[in-house]
């Protein structure tokens, strides 16, 4: 996906909306004793739809905005989310998975990477809290909750980015079946 002004605008609006929605509403809803975190889901969806470079840049930008809006250590969320965006983008570039369950799995993995990534970074920065059963339970509950949200959120992100995507994913899927060209790199 080339970063045209239109694509940049859509990505920026998406990032700001996701963070505002997360901070002002989603983080205040407790379900199964935990709260969902839609930010890694949105970053993963963008990576999965747009590729690794766009995913990484989007993750970095969104992370920076999260750190700023919540007065956190700047750069920490950027680092974690850029890994999420890049990873999901690479998955698309290397495998281009089309199964309907893919957003759910990618969402769960993205959440795990984000949550555990924050933990690791905090340990590296001097946090002395050992991993407890409660913490692990929280992380698992968040992953499950996010996995449930991943599919509708992925559909929303795809709908929003559809006008600026290089290929309609459904069209790409049809071509993949007929030509065997699965990776966008194979067309380069």
């Amino acid at each position: 996906m080339s970063l045209t002004p239109q694509a940049l605008t859509r990505l920026a609006v998406l990032g700001v909306l996701a963070v505002i929605l997360q901070v002002a509403a989603v983080s205040q809803l407790t379900l199964f004793g935990t709260t969902a975190d839609i930010v890694p889901l949105v970053v993963a969806a963008v990576g999965l739809l747009s590729g690794s470079v766009v995913g990484a840049v989007f993750g970095f930008g969104v992370g920076l905005f999260v750190d700023t809006a919540l007065f956190q250590i700047m750069g920490l969320s950027s680092l974690v989310y850029l890994v999420v965006g890049y990873g999901s983008g690479r998955l698309r570039e290397l495998r281009d998975p089309q199964a309907p369950i893919v957003p759910v799995i990618v969402g769960a993995v993205a959440t795990a990477v984000a949550t555990i990534g924050f933990g690791v970074m905090n340990f590296l920065l001097g946090m002395n809290a050992p991993v407890s059963f409660l913490l692990v339970r929280h992380i698992l509950a968040t992953i499950v909750l996010n996995a449930l949200l991943a599919l509708p959120l992925f559909a929303l992100v795809r709908r929003w980015l559809l006008p600026v995507l290089p290929d309609d994913p459904r069209r790409r899927r049809r071509r993949a079946y007929t030509t065997g060209g699965l990776s966008p790199l194979s067309r380069a």
Binding site: Q28, L79, G119, L135, L185
Partner: protein, 295 residues
Amino acid sequence: MYDKTIRRRRAVLALLVVSSLILVTAYFGESAGSPLHTVQRGIISIVSPIQEGAGRALKPFRDLFSWIGDTLDAKGELKEVRRERDAWKARAIALQAQERQNRQLRGLLGLDDSPSDVDDYGPVSARVIGRSSQLWYVQLVIDKGSSAGIRPDLPVVASDGTANGSGLVGKVEAVTRGSSIVRLITDREMAVAARNVGGTASGDLMPKAGDPRLLTLEYAEKDAAVSVGDPIVTAGTVSSRKDLRSLYPPDIPIGRVTRIEDPGSETQQILVKPYVNLRRVEFVRVLTRPYAESE
């Protein structure tokens, strides 16, 4: 072409990773008044009105979800709450007698002019307009800032709406003109000078490592007379030197002792559960004159 794409991708990734690491390093070593913190405060002052608007617009959805969650929780909690009610009833009767005696003794000692509630500390009410959802950060964003007289390090109290859910929740971390960041007592960087209400055990109340919902009373004497169920309040240390006195006024409730591990030993751990369910706080009160009692 293929190599160029790979090189470009790797260059972008490396640039972003290095930028993040530079930001983390620079931010970590900075003081509160440094450029990155100033930029953060500037952006928060722009974003907080948007957060506030979004928070108000999405309140019906939050309420709906809360209602569903509360209904499910309520059923499970009913039995426990009934047992607690009976215990508290018995305790309240005992306390009423003690209160009467206490009033008489305080009158005798001439100590009756101390503040009885937070109204004496210049409370400013504020609405919670955002909060961090990550386990590693425990902060609230509130809709009042320096224009309402709020400044860093002021104590923040709140109620979660339940019968005993009122008390200290944290302190002001950073302030912009129209909003503030509140660092909660469950944050790893927080420590509150506290004691049990009987004054027989005192120490620093800190988050329990590995369990963000519990606090531990550190540095309490090993033979301190403290028991499960004891209310824990702020110590409110007084000193003529401003840098030595506590940030918090005395006797603000914080939580109650739920468990004592290895009692009487050097490794004794007094575990305290905060009165306020920090996830349910919608409004807070910032105490703008925490030293009203000593002034």
